[in-house]
């Protein structure tokens, strides 16, 4: 399992996959993709890491406890909903702002994107906790 090819591929693939995952996540609102798919792709390199170098190594690379990511993701989703609520609107009511970025033009930034970020983080956390746990099982 822990072949040299896998190890090497993993090293080179990791940044690529991470960038791709952010891309998938960001374009999700307008093109196929989104937090869920993005999160899965982002989890992939760490999953490969754990297969190639063992779960302990993968945990070290990840630096945060995957279950913490789950909590933060859920909290983000929840918070994005509460923003509308605090404004006197129902839970999850979208709040939007514009962000003018040189080169990108006008970007719509809103709580639904923040919500999707929660999904993204939670999915990474979930996938990795499951895979690490299975890897570490005696």
């Amino acid at each position: 399992m822990t072949s040299l090819i896998l190890r090497t591929t993993t090293r080179y693939l990791t940044p690529l996959l991470l960038i791709f995952s952010v891309f998938l996540f960001l374009r999700g609102h307008n093109q196929p993709g989104g937090g869920f798919a993005g999160g899965l792709v982002a989890a992939a390199p760490f999953a490969l890491f754990s297969i190639a170098f063992g779960a302990a190594e993968a945990r070290r690379v990840l630096q945060v406890e995957p279950r913490w990511l789950i909590g933060v993701g859920l909290l983000a989703a929840l918070a994005s909903g509460v923003i509308g609520l605090l404004g006197g609107y129902p839970f999850l009511t979208g709040t939007w702002g514009y962000l003018k970025l040189p080169g990108f033009g006008v970007l719509d930034i809103g709580t639904p994107l923040f919500f999707d970020l929660g999904v993204y983080l939670a999915v990474i956390g979930v996938t990795l906790s499951i895979i690490f746990a299975l890897e570490e099982a005696e």
Binding site: N30, A133, L134, A137
Partner: protein, 115 residues
């Protein structure tokens, strides 16, 4: 095409149920996986099929011209897929743990809690 898929769905359900009725815990898991495929495909098919046209508004246009695939069932199926993935992962861990504590994956040996 709906008619053909209806038979595929029926077939998937039948195979899933057949697997659920096995005595091996692992086969049961495969049955569960097939069951979720069947149910998802059922939602997809029952809501009518539209070839090709995804429900995405093009970058240059402001509106989507019909015909396009119904987005709602897609969202539902997506949710259902993800949920059944979670369930599946848990079920696998459960099977693993059960095998460890019972020492077999024969479901007929797991009846100490019933009678």
């Amino acid at each position: 095409m709906e008619v053909i898929l209806a038979f595929v769905i029926g077939g998937l359900f039948a195979l899933a149920i057949y697997m659920l009725l096995r005595r091996s815990l692992v086969k049961l898991l495969i049955g569960l996986a097939l069951l979720s495929h069947a149910a998802n495909l059922l939602i997809f098919t029952a809501a009518k099929l539209t070839r090709g046209r995804p429900p995405v508004i093009g970058m240059e246009t402001a509106a989507l011209e019909p015909p396009f695939a119904d987005p709602l069932p897609q969202a539902l199926i997506l949710t259902a897929i993800v949920i059944s993935f979670g369930v599946m992962a848990f079920a696998l861990a459960l099977a693993f743990r059960a095998y460890r504590s019972v020492g077999t994956d024969d479901l007929d040996q797991m009846q100490s809690t019933d009678v």
